[in-house]
Symmetry: C2
Subunit: 442 residues, 2 copies
């Protein structure tokens, strides 16, 4: 038992790996979050930076096979391998299993985050700002896509398909990062906050449709119209269906929760519903987080809201950091090193993409109509962070051969910087408005 | 994207599988738990039965590769395969990943359960009943081991090594099931409850040492004395170290938690500590749950206890059912079918093992000294459920060739029945004492 481990013995070692990874994630998230808070920045920025420190860019404690890492590249696996006396083949299999578990835990983390954001949002408020949010979303997709694609073709002589791919990667706002920062700043329920969240949701749906179009264009050279129609119908049906549910299902939910007698009588039906909606969204090829957000919106309409809110908080507290730290850990900052010759072209393109990414979303603030005194700058800034969807574009683009190395690196740099710049900027944007109207927000 | 999925696309499908599995688990746990409660039985019994219904014995919604199941044996995978259009190879890989994730979630569930039980237990109370618990544990290991081994050799002409293996499988009480039932009955903090929990912890350690002895005996024909000494020293150092920590570390913990400003300021340090202790226990080849229990005991000594307790409850509510439902789902009741000829010999041996398993633990109640008015029957009954450790013995025994099919089936039947009989019996045992002393417990 002490010497080498066989297949059957790997269960406890995978568990040990997961526990060790979670310990590292929690330490990184708390150290980063607290330091960030101490210098008056949103804690989530510190969690992302904490992830970068323990991830592929620096300490190599947490790395993922999708990033091309092997078991031997993971410092944590090296420790585990020495403790458990694993041979390299067993280590590779433990590394794979452990990474899979952590990836799913991170996805459950962002699902719970969006469920919580949904619970904190107000369906009626969202509907009130629905048209404004839709305009912000559409402009925020079209502007950076058009400017990015045309600019790459015109200034950098990039051919059409890779330029369209890179342009598409500029479209989708990271709803997770934006909503978390808004919540931390206490602005989630403000009119600006609700427009940003609503627009981020719509823009996420648009981003998925754009991805489907671009991916089929890159693969076959033409657009699969049927798939696009399918996605558009699915997305509309899903969002409208959720609002419909929000008005009728919530009573049944309360009736069920009231009849249950055993432990978890509120939280288990709530999570069953949230996971079901996430599954549904996932199955119709939207993102699981959209389903969780919709579930949160629906349950926010019930009179169990406050109790549920209180119970979801600790669950979110232990799951959400796994998402943010692993987002940071997956980033490889070595693409930013200007000494490496092949990075240089990427960095120049990246500079262009970042300008387009920021300006393309900033303008959306000024498209909000009928709201004279609104903080337009804050809305624009709130739409800036790109996060994981941009990375998905870069990954699929590289895998399909549509993107060459410099262009792929440029997209990654753009995602990193928009993600890391948005939290402090958003803080600033709301601070300015608070300074202007101290009586309103304080 | 709609047609077949390649390796890179499997992430979302694994997530969909995990979400679907969790939905089934939650539905099974709530339906089972509520029905059980309605007929005045402990809810955890219903969760186990719910697991049996959705598991390998009936609906085949949740099955595991370790049980010899393929993707095609899982009804849930069949649904997923149809939805996502997976080819059989991709389905096999998704099934494997998804099962791994659910297994680890179940293990995290029992870790959180034992952490919570530790938080609800009182180190000083446990120390007060320490000697009694140790005697109960030792007798509860020696009696069924000796009676089982000798009886199998004498009555059933089983040769020495398999008889010793089966005897050893009778030793370890399932601390998870016992402590959950005690908590549900409101008897965790009673003197009887603390003796049972203390004895179950010690007996778990003894069981692990017995397993190491028996496994090396079965593999090499002789006992690896060094490994046994290593385990005994490790276990003693770990338990004494935890008590030591309990007296000194708790102040540092409060000091750290008090200085933190961001969300999860109590629950993240607490889980970091619990996971660290679980990791440590796992690494020195004890069980992770022992570490989590020790962590709970340590943090119970702090003045953050109540706040932490409140925050751990919803986390336990969503994770613990995953453990109990999968325990039920892994059970294959087909070994109980008396029509199958090869089950018949197993069932006869099983009847013998069950009698030994129950009597061997029941007697422990009468070994408690210096406690005149204690409910001895309840203590004996509390030690009866065997649960997962017994299944580990059966699995290792079968893999090493020490156990033949009827004997392995007999052990599994013994585990099933002791696990399912104990909750209602325990309920009865405490009810009787309540009827006798209505002024004390009522």
């Amino acid at each position: 038992m002490l010497a080498t481990a066989t297949e059957a013995d790997q269960g406890p070692i995978v568990l040990a790996g997961v526990l060790l990874t979670l310990i590292v994630i929690y330490l990184a998230s708390k150290l980063g979050g607290e330091l960030s808070k101490a210098v008056d920045l949103p804690p989530v920025l510190g969690e992302l930076v904490g992830g970068v420190v323990v991830g592929a860019s620096a300490l190599h404690l947490i790395v993922f096979p999708e990033g091309g890492a092997q078991a031997a590249d993971s410092l944590l696996m090296t420790v585990l391998q020495a403790i458990a006396g694993l041979d390299p083949r067993a280590a590779a299999s433990v590394f794979e299993s452990q990474s899979e578990v952590i990836s799913v835990l991170a996805e459950l983390g962002v699902i719970v985050l969006l469920f919580e954001i949904g619970l904190e949002s107000d369906l009626r408020e969202l509907q009130k700002v629905g048209y404004q949010a839709a305009v912000v979303a559409v402009v925020g997709v079209v502007a950076p896509f058009a400017a990015g694609t045309v600019g790459l073709m015109f200034f950098f002589k990039v051919s059409a398909i890779p330029a369209i791919f890179a342009g598409a990667a500029l479209t989708a706002t990271s709803i997770g990062i934006t909503s978390k920062v808004l919540s931390e700043l206490g602005h989630l329920k403000s009119k600006e906050g609700q427009i940003i969240v609503g627009a981020a949701v719509i823009d996420d749906v648009l981003g998925i449709i754009v991805l489907a179009v671009v991916a089929s264009l890159a693969k076959t050279g033409e657009v699969n119209i049927l798939n696009v129609i399918y996605l558009m119908i699915g997305a509309s049906a899903f969002l409208l269906g959720s609002i419909f549910l929000g008005k009728f299902f919530n009573k049944s939910f309360v009736a069920i929760a009231d009849r249950l007698q055993t432990r978890g009588k509120l939280v288990i039906p709530a999570f069953t519903f949230a996971f079901f909606m996430a599954f549904l969204a996932n199955v119709i090829q939207l993102e699981a987080i959209l389903g969780a957000f919709a579930a949160g919106l629906v349950l926010d309409e019930t009179d169990k809201r406050k109790e549920l809110d209180r119970e979801v908080v600790p669950i979110a507290d232990i799951l959400v950091p796994i998402f943010f730290v692993t987002v940071g850990a997956r980033v490889d900052l070595s693409v930013l090193n200007p000494v490496v010759p092949e990075n240089q072209q990427g960095l120049i393109i990246a500079a262009f993409l970042i300008v387009v990414a920021i300006l393309g979303k900033l303008v959306t603030g000024w498209t909000v109509f009928g709201q004279a005194s609104i903080n337009r700058f804050a809305i624009g800034v709130g739409m800036i962070p790109r996060g994981e969807v941009g990375l998905v574009f870069a990954g699929i683009g590289a895998a399909s051969g549509a993107l060459d190395k410099p262009l792929q690196a440029a997209i990654i740099v753009m995602v990193i910087l928009t993600t890391f710049l948005a939290p402090p900027f958003l803080r600033l944007a709301f601070k300015e408005s608070a300074d202007k109207q101290p009586d309103l927000i304080g």
